[in-house]
């Protein structure tokens, strides 16, 4: 607390006696509280209710009798749930690696004192201004085997070219991965670029004088310095991956069959379309658990890396 703050708080305490002074002092809290209350109720209150619902026999309408862990048993004995979790792994790992690698590459390229940096950044970032529904619509068309990319390549003369990933249960998820990488890479690149720009120029100059080549400088000096950025990028991408929903709905609707169901899709379908509210709530709680399981270690690592870097 600065000296001025102390004086101000002493002044406040002195004028506590009168009601109008009390009111004047409480205005900030009074202004703040409705918004905070709404936010806390809608987020934390509703999470608690969802948690409660996951212990009830609710189906189409909520019922409030407690039945213990029955809904979790239902969930864990449901094959489609496990397939959704499995699909999420197949989605998340290539999505994070792809967006991070591609984003870092773009950031390094843009960090070379290039011209038209603004225009390039704008180009890499515009997919983020689009709804996932729009992006998914576009990519579904590109991946269409009859009229899409497959035909375009065949028209170039490679007539045996086949590209029917969307219709293939083993490969459809990667179509969604590609679309998601396309949408997120520009954002990842700006995060990395901000990190690269924060590296002290003096270190780089010193290394150059010592004769280090540019790739060596990046590998040995710059990238280790921006290690905290790697953690925040992973953190952001991992939690985006767990929340992925819209783009699945529009590109594959979970198909073929259940090959691209994700936990978010499972939750929505069971809770809102099949009238299995209890299982839906249980799956939502498991999604929350996944996010916590990913975030807590990453946040810990990030804070440690930040402390070491400064």
């Amino acid at each position: 607390m600065t000296a001025l703050q102390t004086i101000a708080s002493v002044r406040q305490r002195k004028s506590q006696s009168s009601v109008s002074a009390w009111f004047e002092r409480s205005v900030p809290a009074l202004v703040l509280s409705p918004g905070v209350c709404v936010s806390v109720i809608f987020v934390y209150g509703f999470v608690l209710v969802t948690g409660y619902l996951s212990f009830t026999p609710s189906t189409l309408m909520p019922r409030y009798a407690l039945v213990g862990l029955d809904r979790y048993r239902d969930l864990f004995s449901n094959d489609v749930w496990w397939e959704s979790v499995n699909n999420l792994a197949w989605f998340t790992v290539p999505f994070i690696i792809g967006s991070a690698a591609f984003g870092l590459l773009l950031a390094i390229l843009m960090d070379q004192r290039i011209r038209y940096e603004g225009a390039l950044r704008a180009t890499f970032l515009y997919p983020l201004a689009l709804s996932q529904i729009v992006a998914g619509t576009a990519w579904q068309w590109l991946f269409n085997p009859t009229y899409g990319l497959e035909r375009a390549v065949q028209n170039f003369g490679w007539s045996s070219f086949r590209f029917n990933w969307l219709g293939n249960p083993d490969l459809a998820i990667f179509c969604v991965v590609i679309a998601a990488i396309w949408q997120c890479t520009g954002f990842v690149a700006s995060l990395f670029l901000a990190g690269l720009r924060s590296v002290d120029d003096e270190i780089v100059k010193a290394a150059q004088i010592d004769g280090a080549s540019l790739p060596t400088i990046y590998r040995r000096i710059i990238l280790p310095v921006i290690r905290p950025v790697f953690f925040s990028v992973t953190l952001i991408l991992a939690h985006l991956a767990i929340k992925t929903f819209d783009i699945i709905v529009v590109m594959t609707a979970g198909g073929p069959g259940t090959a691209t169901w994700l936990p978010s899709y499972f939750m929505y379908t069971f809770a809102f379309e099949r009238g299995r509210m209890g299982i839906g709530a249980a799956s939502a709680m498991m999604m929350l658990a996944m996010i916590v399981a990913v975030l807590v270690p990453l946040m810990y690592l990030e804070s440690r890396a930040t402390r070491n870097a400064t």
């Binding site: 509703f46 843009m110 689009l130 729009v134 576009a138 939502a284 999604m287």
Partner: protein, 285 residues
């Protein structure tokens, strides 16, 4: 970096151009497809420009395409989205401005705890609040209404707008506020005289960002809008994935551009502010 031998620079720019093309090609394909007719789609190359340009697909997507049982195009949903986005953006921005100002400049006990609580809320998957939120809207008789969607978007937007304004206002020297208080100025007067005049950039960031988020939302729209208040993202999904009739990709693509147009225009004219909102969200989020 002094590595400026000419070939290295050439390769660098070539790579950047290539990547830029990679990002733009999907949009180019969507655009040219939307101006072709179905016969040309069947025989032609998806990469080529239309042989005959036609806006028929656009007209159909706007006012006649089937989105499930109804065949009124995207127009009603587009208007729903507009009706939803304007109040939701304005209300959440104003609340965020006052909250952020109170948190940044009026030190009281628990301010940091409140801020942390709001921030952690970003990470919670919306699936974990959908069911109670649907019931809550039901209690308020706001199920399947635009007002209900506005309420939801405001409630879940406050945390972000508060953070945005708080991080902006925190850089104002607190001595300024203290001096004003010594002179007898109150909470609202100080906001009006000191903070409001410097707030144009941050309001722009906030409005652009909230507009993009709320316009692009699909999950809340799908869960809470019924058939009467559907936003345009839900309309587009129904258009693209409708099982009735023959699939017309040109109409789908025209619909996609119509849905994307408002946020794209905002991005083109306010991209700078958009990026600021993005990094503000990322640094804290």
């Amino acid at each position: 970096m002094q590595h400026s031998s000419l070939t290295v620079r050439a390769v660098l720019y070539l790579a950047l151009l290539l990547f830029a093309a990679l990002f733009l090609i999907p949009f180019y394909l969507v655009l040219v497809t939307s101006f072709k007719d179905v016969a040309e789609l069947r025989r032609g190359n998806m990469l080529s420009l239309p042989e005959t340009w036609t806006v028929a697909a656009w007209l159909k997507a706007w006012s006649a395409a089937c989105t499930g049982a109804a065949c009124n195009g995207l127009r009603p949903y587009f208007y729903n989205s507009l009706e939803m986005v304007v109040p939701a953006v304005l209300i959440s921005s104003v609340i965020g401005a006052f909250n952020g100002y109170a948190l940044a400049q009026w030190h009281f006990r628990g301010a940091d705890a409140i801020f942390t609580l709001l921030l952690l809320g970003f990470f919670i998957p919306y699936q974990a609040i959908l069911l109670p939120a649907a019931q809550f809207l039901g209690y308020l008789h706001l199920s399947n209404t635009i007002a209900g969607l506005v309420l939801i978007h405001v409630a879940y937007g406050i945390a972000f707008t508060t953070m945005l304004f708080r991080n902006y206002y925190v850089s104002v020297p607190s001595d300024l506020v203290k001096a004003a208080r010594v002179d007898g100025a109150g909470f609202f007067l100080i906001f009006r005289k000191i903070f409001l005049p410097i707030s144009l950039p941050i309001f722009t960031v906030c409005i652009i960002w909230q507009f993009t988020q709320i316009w692009n939302d699909f999950l809340f729209g799908a869960a809470f809008s019924g058939t009467t208040a559907r936003p345009v993202t839900v309309g587009l999904n129904n258009l693209v994935n409708t099982t009735e009739g023959v699939k017309e990709y040109n109409v789908d693509m025209a619909g996609a551009v119509i849905t994307a147009l408002p946020t794209l225009i905002v991005y083109i004219f306010g991209g700078r502010y958009f990026v600021r909102g993005l990094t503000a969200g990322a640094v804290k989020g």
